[in-house]
Every structure is written in C-alpha cells, then in structure tokens.
C-alpha cells in the first residue's frame, strides 16, 4: 500500500485532534465511539470487544508514543481508519511504559482477503518509526496538514 492509498482511507471526520482518556479501557471505548460515529457501523459493543481482545494478545502500543488498535470484525463493513491525537498522552500500557500520544485505529471486515488492513498497519508503522514524522503529526494544525506530513514521509 502506498502512502497516497493510505491517506485515501483517512478523513477529517475520522481525525480526533484533542483526544483524552484516563485509562486504556476508556481510550478503547472513546476510540470505538469515534470510529463508529458517522459510519454505517452500529455495533459498538462487538467492535469494542474485538479491540479489547486484540490488546489481550499483546499491546498495540509501540515505541515513539504510537498505538495501533486494530483487527477484523463482522461488525465492520469496510476498511476503516481513524487517527486520534492526545497532547497529554494516555497510559495505553506500552512496552516501554511511556504515554501514547498518537492512535491509529484500523478496522477491517473478515472478508478483507487482500489483507489491506495489515498493509495499512505495516505502512503506518513504517512511517512513524521516524521521530520527525511523529512530531509533524503531533504539530499538524488540521487534517490536511496531517495528511501532508504522511505524504511527505512516504
């Protein structure tokens, strides 16, 4: 997946620039609510359950303060991405114990046979390995600026 293809799956409606949560559980609940809002998905509970299970498998919070809650569910109708940004940071139980400031939620239906969600996950994980990209994403004024940071990084 190219960066341009990735950015096509993002939108201003699914960009939360001032995200906050007091715990990992609250973060998952709020992220699920945000990703479902305005979509044709309605089964919050099943999507949240899937994301909780995925976190049980191993935290999706990597270094650099970035987390990738992701997975497949029948309650998801198409590949759906959401970006959330927290200036204060959230304790998302990362391996390094540091706060998480950027969240990329990636949801896909089980029939995503092309594994596009893994491609999206891999591409974003690759981009945010560079600290300057993370800084750019944190400082972007709006969604267009955020998309530009990603495109320039790719």
């Amino acid at each position: 997946m190219t960066v341009d293809e990735l950015v096509q799956h993002l939108s201003a409606e699914r960009f939360v620039s001032d995200f906050s949560a007091a715990s990992k559980e609250e973060a998952l609940e709020k992220l699920t609510e945000a990703v479902v809002a305005g979509s044709n998905m309605s089964d919050h509970a099943t999507i949240l359950q899937m994301l909780r299970n995925r976190e049980q498998l191993g935290s999706t919070a990597l270094s650099q303060g970035v987390a990738f809650p992701h997975g497949r569910s029948l309650a998801v109708t198409k590949l759906t991405l959401l970006v959330a940004r927290s200036k204060a940071g959230v304790d998302f139980e990362s391996e390094d114990g540091k706060s998480t400031h950027l969240f990329f939620v990636i949801l896909a239906p089980p029939q995503d046979t092309g594994n596009y969600y893994l491609q999206a996950l891999g591409k974003i994980a690759e981009l945010v390995r560079k600290s300057e990209v993370c800084n750019g994403l944190m400082e972007a004024e709006d969604f267009d600026a955020l998309a530009t940071v990603l495109k320039e990084a790719g």
Binding site: H44, Q49, Q56, L57, A75, L121, A125
Partner: protein
C-alpha cells in the same frame, strides 16, 4: 455499549475471537505481526475469553454454531445488500426486521447464522 449481550452479538464476538486466535497461532501471520513490532504473547488469555463467551451462549445455539463452523468454516455471515454473504441468496426482508434484532436467524438456503448490525 460496553459488551455484547444478545445471542447474535455473542456469536459474532466468538467468531471474531476464534479467527483472531487462528491468526495468532498461524506461524506466518504471527511472523508478520512480530516483524511489524507487535508482540503476540496473550494467546492463553484469548482462550480464556473464548471460554467466557461460550459460557454466555445458550448450549443449543453454541451447538449449531459449532456444527456450522465445522461444515462451512464461517458459521456467522453478515447480510449485505439484502443477501447472505455466505451463499449470496437474497434474505427475506422480514428476517432482518428490527423485531428480529439480536435473534439467531439462519439463512434458509445455506443454514448459516445471519448477522445484520
């Protein structure tokens, strides 16, 4: 919104979870995740969650799910555009009316359990 409650939601959650376990136990899929930096270490916890879900599903419903899983691979299929995505046969509208929301309804053609969120 916090947890799946009705039988149809519980079956969907179970199928999602079992697919996640299969992926995590598949060496190739696991390698892909680990290469991206995601540790795969909580498979036991997922099996415990699977048991917990199974205990919330009525035995008859769970038995039907297990038989379908064995026979067709996917026991629960979403209804998209008015059709069962397991066999692509149109599903009578009355099946997916709000009255039946959360109930375990089977496709008349392929027998799979229908899900319409």
């Amino acid at each position: 919104m916090s947890e799946p409650t009705n039988q149809a939601q519980l079956l969907v959650a179970l199928q999602d979870l079992e697919d996640m376990i299969s992926e995590a136990e598949n060496p190739d899929q696991r390698a892909v995740l680990e290469e991206m930096g995601f540790p795969v270490q909580g498979i036991d916890e997922l099996h415990a969650a699977q048991k917990n879900l199974e205990e919330q599903i009525q035995p008859g419903v769970l038995g039907k799910y297990r038989r379908l899983r064995k026979r067709t691979g996917k026991a629960v299929m979403p209804v998209v555009g008015g059709a069962c995505t397991g066999c692509f046969t149109n599903v009578p509208h009355v099946f997916t009316s709000s009255v039946n929301k959360g109930k375990v309804i089977a496709c008349e053609t392929c027998g799979r359990i229908l899900y319409w969120p």
